[in-house]
Symmetry: C2
Subunit: 224 residues, 2 copies
C-alpha cells in the first residue's frame, strides 16, 4: 500500500484552482510503489498523477522535476511535471511537497523480448543524449561514497564467502577511474517495473527519484 | 494536398541525429491543412508531427512554439514542440523553418453535443489561465487593424445590402474600447477542426499559428 498520506477530494479540488487543467472529476489512490504517496487524478481536461513526497527533501526535488521536464521537452516518453498558475512545479498538499505529472499509457512487461530490449536501449540513449544539455547537477545518491558506506554497514552481517566476494568487488571498484568515463544525468533505476509498454512502443519511463549525475555506464549496468 | 515541400527519408534521418528520439521508422505526408507542409514521423521512441512552415516568417515562429510549450507545461493537451540536442525548437529542413511536435490522439467531431462544448469551454479557460503567465507577446494577426484593412479591401466587391451590414458593423466596432477587456494569449482559431477528441476527452487542440495577444473574448466568439 503506497498511500501513506490520504488526500480528501475537497483538499485537492481547492488545490487544483491554482492550475489550468479544469475541475476534479476523480481521485484514486495507487497501490504500487513504496517511497511516496501516489494518486490518479482525472480532471475535465485530462489524466494526471499526483505524488506526495514522503521521504525526499524539498531541496532535492527541483533536480528531479526539472530533469523530467527537460527530457519531456526533448520528446522522450517521461512523466512531464505540470506547472501551476505561478509557473511552479512543486507545491504542498497536506503538508507534504507535492507534484502533478502527466499520466502515461502502458504497463510493465516482466519477460521482455529482444524488441523490448532494443527499444529500452534506444530510450536510455535518448535520455543520455538529451541529458547532456540539462543545466542542473546533483550527485547520484547511490554513487561511490554511498556504495562504500553500504558495504561497510552490511559486511559484518554476511557469511564468509559473500564477505570475501564483497571485499574483492570493493577492491576492484577502488581501482577504476570512474571520473574519466562519459557522464551525465542518469535514471539510475531503470528496472522492468519502471518501463511502461503501450503495445510495442514505450508509453513511459517512470520513477526518476533516484536520478543523478554519474557515469552513463551505471545506467547501462542497472538496465541490463 | 498540404505537402508543398517533399522531404526525402534520408534528409529526415540525418536531421533526426540532432534529436534524442531514436531512429526514423516511418515518414508519411499529411493531406489536411492548407498553410504548411505536415508529416507523421514515427521513430524507435515515439510518434511525432513534422511541420515545414511555407508562409510564416522565421521571426514570428518562436512566439507560437514557446506558447505551445508553455501550455503543454501547464498540463494542457496541445502539441508540445520537441527540443533538439542544442535545446532549440526551431530548425531547418529543405531550406524551410521546421519543427517537430508531439503527435496527439483523436479526431475532430463535426456535430459536437453539450458535453463536447463544456469540455471545449474548460479547455479555453485553461488556455487563458495558463496564458496569463506566458512571457512573450505578439499582436493578434487578425486584430482591429487587420479587420479594418480587410473590410476596406472587400467593401467595393460586395452587394449593397452586405456592404451596408459591413459598414454598420465597422462603425459599431469603432465604438468598443477593446483595450479595457481582459486580455492575454489567445488561440484565435478554435474551430471544430482544431479540436481532436479521444473518446470523451480532448486529445488535443492544434494549429496555434493564428495565436496572438488580444481580448480573451475574441477566442470565445470564434469558438462559439
Amino acid at each position: 500500500m503506497s498511500v501513506f498520506t490520504p488526500v480528501p477530494e475537497s483538499v485537492l479540488s481547492s488545490w487544483l484552482q491554482n492550475y489550468a487543467i479544469g475541475r476534479l472529476v476523480e481521485l484514486k489512490g495507487i497501490s504500487a510503489g513504496v517511497q511516496n504517496s501516489n494518486f490518479f487524478v482525472t480532471t475535465t481536461l485530462g489524466r494526471y498523477v499526483l505524488t506526495l513526497f514522503e521521504g525526499i527533501g524539498r531541496a532535492e526535488l527541483p533536480y528531479y522535476l526539472h530533469l523530467m521536464a527537460h527530457l519531456a521537452r526533448h520528446g522522450l516518453p517521461v512523466p512531464a511535471p505540470i506547472a501551476n498558475r505561478d509557473n511552479e512545479y512543486l507545491g504542498t498538499v497536506e503538508g507534504k511537497p507535492a507534484v502533478l505529472v502527466m499520466r502515461l499509457q502502458g504497463a510493465s512487461v516482466m519477460d521482455p523480448d529482444e524488441g523490448h530490449c532494443a527499444r529500452a536501449g534506444a530510450m536510455l540513449a535518448g535520455l543520455h543524449l538529451a541529458g547532456q544539455s540539462y543545466g542542473r547537477r546533483q550527485p547520484n545518491p547511490r554513487g561511490p561514497q554511498w556504495r562504500e558506506q553500504a558495504a561497510s554497514q552490511v559486511r559484518d552481517h554476511l557469511p564468509a564467502d559473500e564477505r570475501a566476494l564483497l571485499d574483492e568487488e570493493m577492491r576492484f571498484q577502488a581501482t577504476i577511474e570512474t571520473d574519466t568515463l562519459p557522464a551525465g544525468a542518469i535514471h539510475a533505476d531503470l528496472f522492468r517495473d519502471n518501463v511502461l509498454w503501450d503495445g510495442e512502443h514505450i508509453g513511459g519511463v517512470i520513477d526518476f527519484y533516484f536520478a543523478g549525475h554519474d557515469a552513463l555506464l551505471f545506467d547501462v549496468a542497472v538496465t541490463v
